[in-house]
Symmetry: C2
Subunit: 356 residues, 2 copies
């Protein structure tokens, strides 16, 4: 895409832990990275550490990553989109954002990676290796913009999962936001008892430490999340309250059979949690004809997600002077047939190629 020998240019807005880690991963993939921060001292620190190559914005940035608080992403996106490049973000809540920023060049994103560390000094170029990175394109999204973000994120070692923004928000309420609020509540209950019996905290063994570890994080970002993802969080909290109420009834009546069933379901589910690391199985390439218009790639990748097919890589090939184009998707070989069939049922022209 660029002339030989010319370095591709990227920008990162917000040079904290996540932004800094994105910058390091970009550099490792060969990009020049300009970095900026609302706090100039933080950007200077990032430069000093070699996390970014220059301080400030870059009008030639092909891609810009926004790593700013959830409440500031929409404004930062509008600002960054002015330069004409592709813009993505790393915020934890997506539906309000993609509704606020309806631009073909914007692709919402959310890396499912974190760290106990705070600030750019904890940034690591391998933070996203073997993690899942969600993208939430919409019917407005330019396929080429989505494919660019997909391939850059893949170059960080992350698996890409394409989801509808509202679906993402509901699912992370289940596996992140409500668990966090629950961990804090359990910790608060123990702390309240500790006022009377200091012994309680000495009883806290490995299981309790594991469960409450996330409560040690900075509360700041959670205030934004609980505002922006309020409806989904309330829905999951209601489900949790219902489920705990049922659990209470099971314990109260001594229904060992029902208790065992619930605990065994949880045990099996916990043991079968995917590890996030890609399996080493064969891959296959699926080529799909598309009309090169907004939302086409989003529609295909959403279908893959629905079918549980992992899209490792994606490329958009154009036919000059024509609005028809072609998608090339790299997927698990043993799932390629089911995705191809589903795409054909949408009257698309599809071919499958072994990569071995």
């Amino acid at each position: 895409m660029t002339a030989q020998g010319e370095q591709r240019r990227a920008a990162v807005v917000g040079t904290g832990l996540i932004g800094g880690s994105v910058a390091l991963a970009l550099q490792a993939a060969g990009w020049h990275v300009a970095g900026s921060d609302i706090d100039p001292a933080r950007a200077e620190r990032a430069l000093q550490l070699g996390v970014i190559n220059s301080v400030g914005s870059d009008p030639d940035a092909e891609i810009t990553f926004l790593a700013v608080p959830v409440s500031s992403v929409a404004d930062a996106a509008r600002e960054a989109l002015r330069s004409g490049g592709v813009v993505t973000d790393v915020g934890s809540v997506k539906a309000p954002l993609v509704a606020a920023v309806q631009d073909a060049k914007f692709v919402g994103g959310h890396p499912m990676a974190g760290s106990e560390a705070i600030g750019v000094d904890g940034a690591r170029g391998d933070l996203f290796d073997a993690t899942t990175w969600v993208l939430t394109p919409t019917a407005n999204t330019d396929p080429a913009a989505q494919a660019l973000v997909h391939s850059v994120v893949r170059s960080f070692g992350a698996e890409v999962l394409t989801l509808d923004a509202a679906q993402h928000d509901h699912l992370v309420a289940t596996v992140s936001h409500v668990p966090h609020l629950t961990a804090a509540t359990l910790m608060d209950l123990a702390a309240t008892q500790a006022e009377e019996h200091s012994a309680v905290l000495r009883l806290a063994a490995g299981g309790f430490r594991d469960m409450t570890r996330i409560a040690a994080g900075d509360p700041g970002m959670w205030l934004d999340i609980c505002t922006d993802n309020r409806e989904a969080i309330l829905g999951v909290l209601d489900d949790l309250l219902d489920s705990l109420g049922v659990m209470r009834g099971i314990v109260a009546t001594g229904d060992s059979e029902a208790l065992e069933q619930r605990l065994r379901l949880a045990q099996q589910a916990r043991r079968s949690l995917p590890t996030g690391a890609p399996a080493a199985e064969q891959l296959a390439e699926i080529r799909v004809s598309i009309v090169d218009q907004p939302g086409e790639l989003a529609s295909v990748t959403a279908l893959a997600t629905e079918l549980g097919v992992n899209v490792y890589d994606v490329e958009v090939a154009h036919t000059a002077g024509d609005r028809r184009g072609r998608l090339i998707l790299v997927v698990d070989a043993d799932r390629a047939a089911s995705l191809a069939e589903a795409l054909r049922s949408q009257s698309r022209v599809v071919s499958v190629h072994e990569l071995a």
Copy 2:
């Protein structure tokens, strides 16, 4: 207590992970260990691995550790007490047990240590190092029996925490039983959603994995625990349901101030969780006159727990032909004065000695 050169003898009933680890820790402290199990093959395996020195009971055992399921401890205790030695256990629920086994030579116990491993092959002699081990003596407990268990457990590297049995049961409901049921419930909620959106489990990042790790354990022991500790678990579940309901209200009304306050309290409490490892500060010895009768040591150690004073070691010294005796407690030097004062206010004769 034994003739020179004669090895002290101990017994372990139940040669699973915990029983096997107790046996290894006893051997490391120089004891001969006889081991038995309801499943003879397990006892033979323990012998084969060198975890125990002989299979079967030992009529000369000075101390017997019961590492059998909670529902079998009372019967096992009555059986073991026939030999005249001191008997202790490792079960997770204490009040029903100490009520069922009212014997001066029985001391309820609960090591706050676990492992992902199952069975004697996972046994480790250092499993209890730097952990907390609860003892729940009663007004019936022989001070010498309590002191023996205390010193043996200390020799495993554990800190001893002396608690009233009912208090123990309430506190472990808070830091262990209810957190476990909550982890299973969160995992079940995610698994239910996964039936519809398989993506949800790929979103489960570090925090969720940490929170639900304990749900991967075997459900078996939890059925007993939920029966035996029903009242305490229901009480704490009610507190949790109330607290989560308040949290729901805070999210629903967008009360960021209240949310931040709760999250910050949890953050501070989580960060100040004691590490379990003893600090290297100076120790002091407190000598207390007692009437050598059941419950005297239990009363003194419970007072220490109430004051937050860590009792590292304890010894009972008798005066021949007299029912008066003396306790020697080793405690943190900087807390010795407060414990001494509290003991004096009970009209006891107390002296404090620096150990440096």
